[in-house]
Amino acid sequence: MDFSSAFLLALRALGRNKMRSSLTMLGLIIGVGAVIAVIGIGEGAATKAQEQLAALGSNMLFVGSGSVNRYGLHVGSFQTKTLVLADARAIVRECPSVSAAAPGTGTGQQVVYGNENWATQVTGTEPQYFEVRNWPFASGTSFSGDDVTQASTVAVLGDTVRKYLFGSSNPIGETIRIGTLPFKVVGVLTPKGTSPGSGQDQDDVIIAPLTTVQKKLLGQEWLRWIMVSAVSRQASYVAQQQIESLLRDRHKIRSADPDDFVVRNMADMADAAAEQGTIMTVLLTIVASIALLVGGIGIMNIMLVSVTERTREIGVRMAVGATEEDVRLQFLIEALVLGLIGGTIGIIFGVTSSLAVSQGLGWPIRIPAYAIAVATIFAMAIALFFGFYPARRASQLNPIEALRYE
């Protein structure tokens, strides 16, 4: 029997029992759909995480004032007073793998403009901060180095703050009140979205000169953090070691004592995020594979029932000249057609459900061509694998007994 008539025969045989055929395919549909959705969502999430980390700057390091053990009492992070401006200058001067460093501090403040008010974080830093964080301006400019020296009351707004205080009107040149002090708005930043680590809104911020925040808002001389950018991503690990030994030296920490600061490496965070994504994808793929496997067993089950039910038909076919190969081919193709149709519906189902997830939850979706190829090949392979035993059983029937079967 040639392949095309065998294919038609299989379609007709399956068509005779539509309900059963579609239930059989359901397992594969769910399995294939799950594989597609998992890969689509996983790839999309990984892509987004990569983009977010790239926006953060993968060659960036974060130096924070740490916790310290005083008389047996652990004081929480950002509490030590040992991180100072001179440390930031020393890092740029003495660590060869560092290209720039922006010292900073921050305080939560109520801000007011006209009738609008908003509680937000006020960051005090120096103009290089915008370069280190790779954060472009939507309008206006940064404050200048002179503003830092003179502790001017000028401010740069994050996009969220701009939205709440100004709505659609132009904030540049306007005066807002932070706490009790009036500040002139000189610039607005482009939106950066949520932070991949903490999920915080990075645009809910006002940035002002370091000295202004230190002296006029906080009344503190020390720093909470220093943002450091390494010369390259590869150099960030070396930069981390250089900073750690430099700061231990400057803070005169004895070799047995712990650091009074923390250094975080964005490259580490990127790797951690990627690893998390991989673990998630592997787990979901296992679940999806089990669904496919169950689908395959469903095919085998129904094919075995079908072979038993059609014993006489097999006997008749053998009597009129079907060889063992003809019978085996017939049932294998039936399994294959189940796999093919189930796989195709599964792909449609997977793509649709991925799109629904992306619409509903706002997750990015990326379904690579390989996912569809893998799912199709997998569905066919499962169908062939689980169809082989029933097909073989059909072909091994004794025609005399098959013809007499009731």
Partner: protein, 263 residues
Amino acid sequence: MTTVNSATTTNTVAAVGSSVPLVEVQDLRKNYQLGETEVHALRGVSVRINPGDFVAIMGASGSGKSTFMNILGCLDKPTSGRYLLEGINVAALTKKELARIRNQKIGFVFQGFNLLGRTTALENTELPMLYCRTTKDNRERRAREALAQVGLGDRADHFPSQLSGGQQQRVAVARALVNQPKMLLADEPTGNLDSRTSVEVMEIFQKLNAEGLTIILVTHEPDIAQFAKREIVFRDGQIKRDDVVEIPHVASEVLKTMPRVED
């Protein structure tokens, strides 16, 4: 023994008049292992059947007639002995070659019709041609011809469930004829039919035989055996009797004497 060759025949038998018998069986034996005991289904059967013959095989159940038919039909192999079909030793063939012989040289008709359900008469008739090289058009043309031969040309698109028992058996005969076989093996073809329909099937058999087709028919009804030209009786795995039917009944004549029943 006479063979009629009509001008319109579709089953011209090349071997007619030649010395090679269609079937030659010598000392055929078949043993089964049934649990502990060995069953001797055939205990040395020898017979020759010439082209154009119409043989009725009779015998009680367990007499070995079904085993003999299965071997003749290449569905089973003998334990020992020779079976020559058109001079070819069938015992030496592989399963695949046997399937080919069943496809090309033998047509089967069964007691239970064995048509595929939810499949039209035409497609049922096409079935043997699925297993040999034929084009779709050729397949349909030949299936329609075969259906016309058994008087069902107008029922090609009917499903078995829409046909009477006699009509179903005629579809089965059409299926057996479609590859123009050398012989027709019918295993109790009238077993499930009423008497008038049985005679109608025998009428078709006699017509086909008159056109040159060799027919071997298993039956346990003596009346049906009377339509054949030769009667072989099996008993305990051996041939007990092998007689020429002196004056075979003519089915078309018998039908005239029978009351007409509406299908």
